[in-house]
């Protein structure tokens, strides 16, 4: 079975530009979460979506937005890119949305570099 897939794998942008990252969850998983991982740190929660609705949002500015489609795939959008947005962006999917002891499974991420 295919795992979580993310595209593109690498992306180079300049300051002020906009970026869209894409994620397809594991088949049957209805919940998608996005995380940002900067070098030397653990992933930080950005969003969680379930059944096309935003369920949770981390401490990120409004420049970050996301959406989930009827097929449960998801997009993360970042506007007005800053140098500090350079990071690995990870997508994770899980069977459910809450905390009912089900693990989240991650894709390999999109490496975003801002010049």
């Amino acid at each position: 079975d295919a795992g979580v897939t993310q595209s593109p794998t690498h992306l180079i942008k300049t300051r002020g530009q906009h970026v869209t990252l894409r994620c397809s969850p594991i088949s049957g998983h209805k919940s998608v979460s996005w995380y940002q991982q900067v070098l030397g740190q653990g992933p930080q929660f950005i969003f969680q979506y379930y059944e096309k609705e935003e369920r949770g949002r981390g401490n990120f500015p409004d420049r970050f937005s996301a959406r989930q489609f009827p097929n449960y795939s998801s997009e993360l959008n970042v506007n007005a890119l800053l140098l500090g947005d350079s990071a690995l962006y990870l997508c994770a999917s899980s069977l459910n949305v809450g905390w009912e002891f089900k693990p989240q499974h991650f894709g390999d991420g999109t490496r975003l570099s801002i010049l």
């Binding site: 993310q6 949770g56 390999d108």
Partner: protein, 119 residues
């Protein structure tokens, strides 16, 4: 405010010996804990988890121990193998609620520990 901490940035172990990775947390509302392994250029891979109603969970060479009173968990790998060399993250989850009162389950990660297993 670092709610999940891995105080050892790195650990070096001989092949065949035990690897013990440690993690501390501060939020008493966390009730589900996970360990992930990450190789370079790959996403984190789920290894093992434990709920707060247990104090031990085993899966093959991997055992996770939870000490709720000390707010501490550890991952034991026995025996360690060179292929175990990777970055290990502990993560914690609890019931978070949005403005509408709906729950969701975000993961809060530690900073990671680089494990190196020498042949």
């Amino acid at each position: 405010d670092q709610q999940v901490k891995q105080n050892s940035p790195s650990l070096s172990v001989q092949e065949g010996r035990i690897s013990i990775l440690n993690c501390d947390y501060t939020n008493s509302m966390f009730d589900y804990f996970l360990w992930y392994k990450k190789y370079p250029a790959e996403g984190p891979t789920f290894l093992i988890s434990i709920s707060s109603i247990k104090d031990k969970n085993e899966d093959g060479r991997f055992t996770v121990f939870l000490n709720k009173s000390a707010k501490h968990l550890s991952l034991h790998i026995v025996p360690s193998q060179p292929g175990d060399s990777a970055v290990y993250f502990c993560a914690a989850s609890g019931s978070s609620f949005n403005a509408g009162g709906t729950s969701y389950g975000k993961l809060t990660f530690g900073q990671g520990t680089i494990l190196t297993v020498h042949p």
